[in-house]
């Protein structure tokens, strides 16, 4: 709205440090309204923390961030959030419908006696009608994830932030969740930002990726960023990016198996001595 040329999200010189540890610095990024951006990078690269900044849960150490021209506000109705997938307990006394309703009025006081109309709409939008009245703890990971997305959509957000929406889902559920996100994003022009480990399932529908590693970053289309040259520069060590049958496989120089379950701190050390931040 102001200053940032109508960008849905604008980051200027955004820097985040914990003590002396730099998570990322001098991040300049405009996310256009209706754009779909995937945030990629090793563990510990500060992907989730970036979402926390956008949610207004963490202040920047330096630089500015605006959403629709305003500083992020915690609990803003404009922003929907799908937290990192984790299974609900089997015995949790809550149905899918209740989970979705939290997205409408979970922050309000009083007893949830009224049934919100948006809840049904959101459940329908994610195709969860058939199990909306089942206890969430008994649903599959994919079904739970749909309900979380419905919860985030129930508030009719203009910006949707998802943290690892595909984590621990089987390929079939991954596919159905990405299809769902893509469809909603296109239909409603919602700006979507999501953190992911895997580019492959989403490469066909994201507009741009933001790759964060070792305090540095690169942004651009998947084809432009996900290259051997670009990622090697980012990590400061040789990285192979291989495309096989539409899959994008990133292989580290030292450990071809990839260790995305390990903390990424070792990458941070040998990254970034000679490479500055890259602007697309």
């Amino acid at each position: 709205m102001t200053g940032s040329g109508g960008a849905a999200v604008a980051l200027r010189g955004a820097t985040l440090r914990f003590g002396h540890h730099v998570i990322w610095e001098n991040l300049d990024l405009d996310i256009a309204p209706g754009e779909c951006l995937a945030i990629l990078g090793p563990n510990g690269a500060g992907k989730t923390t970036l979402l926390k900044v956008l949610l207004g849960l963490l202040p920047l150490s330096a630089g500015t961030v605006t959403i629709d021209g305003q500083a992020p506000r915690r609990g803003s109705a404009q922003t929907g959030y799908v937290p990192q997938q984790r299974d609900f307990d089997r015995d949790l006394p809550i149905r899918g419908r209740d989970l979705v309703q939290f997205g409408v009025d979970g922050h309000r006081l009083g007893l949830p006696l009224t049934r919100a109309r948006q809840v049904d709409a959101a459940i329908e939008a994610v195709g969860a009608e058939d199990y909306a009245d089942a206890p969430v703890g008994l649903l599959s990971g994919g079904q739970q994830q749909r309900l979380r997305i419905a919860q985030a959509l129930a508030g009719r957000p203009r910006l949707l932030l998802c943290d690892e929406p595909l984590l621990s889902l089987d390929p079939a559920s991954q596919h159905s969740v990405t299809t769902l996100l893509n469809a909603y994003h296109r239909e409603h022009g919602t700006t979507v930002v999501f953190v992911t480990h895997e580019i492959t399932p989403v490469a066909s529908f994201v507009d741009r990726v933001l790759y964060v590693a070792g305090g540095h970053w690169a942004a651009g289309t998947p084809d432009a960023v996900m290259t051997t040259q670009r990622l090697s520069a980012l990590y400061g060590t040789h990285i192979d990016v291989i495309r096989v049958h539409g899959r994008i496989v990133v292989i580290g120089g030292d450990d071809p198996a990839g260790h995305h379950h390990l903390p990424g701190s070792d990458h941070i050390h040998h990254a970034g001595h000679d490479h500055g931040a890259q602007e697309h």
Partner: protein, 382 residues
Amino acid sequence: MSLAFLLAQPFAQHALLAAALVAVSCGLIGPFVVTRGMAFAVHGTAELAFTGAAAGLIVANNPVTGALAGSLVVAALIATLGARQRERDSAIGAILAFGMGIGILLLGHYQGFATAATNILFGNIFGVSGSQLLILVIIGLVVVAVMATWYRPLLFASIDPDAAEARGVPVRRLGLMFLVVLALTVTGAAQVVGTLLVLSLAITPAAAAQRLSASPLVVAALSVIFAVAAADGGLLASFEASNVKASVFITSISFAIYLAARLAGPLLRDRRQYSRENRHAQPHDRAYPRYEPGPTGTSAATATPQGDEPPEQPDRHVPSGLGWPGGPVGRLGTQGLPAGNTRPSRSEKTSLQRLRHPGLRPAETPGDIPRSGLLGFSARFP
């Protein structure tokens, strides 16, 4: 003394009222205690309420105020020592043991009536004086008012703290508030059933309610009803058999309800399943699209190349007792049960078609998304 005669007495009426109010607060906090995994915190708070009550008895001959002070101190300690459940539980264990020791030391020095000590441990609402009863009533009203006001955000924060925090719910402050509410409730319950048996009002009714429903409001209502039935039912029974302590009846009724709920749960599940089947002519085709697994179910990469679905990889089957938690896979077995949404469900397709976006090609999307196969998950990061 006949029951009718006793019921006409103001002391009996006051006791029943106070017990009912205590039970309502217990019934309200119970589901949250279970959901937040704080059963041990309840027990720990109650044990320390014992120490407080013993101190109150010696200092001012007022165990209720002492118990209140004791449980509030514990709430503060739990808040400072442990945020995560595991950390919290070990901290509570350490405090609990030490606190009980102090309590026994204090009781050893108490020169008054011996029954006062057993009343702390096993409860005696009739031994509570009028002014102390008033304290209990005020505590009960405060707990009910707080729970009714913050019910929704507290539930949200208990179920899904990350999403709740992003939505603007003060998760941490609500957690602290709940500890205080817990301390107040435990103080009240300790007068009715005794510090050792607080769990029979604070946990058992909620645990029974959870066997019967998955709706938070229904669970809350059942939990309150069960707690009141146990508390007042136990008191009434003790009127008839005055040589047995009321807490014996209260814990027995509470446990009987729990047993009945455990037995009734599966029966209700079956009935629910029937109603689901009857509602749909072809229940499973409609409710849960069923999919053929891949040729071997091992590798999607070796499956037929065009437009097929990735193999079925159900991460968890939904038991047939869909409406009820904790149910084993019912007698339908796994046949016809949902399998992790292998393919967009019918409703999803409808909503996708409804979107009618030119760029959206539902028929093509399965092929567009590359599958992971023999090479394992793609795009692993170095």
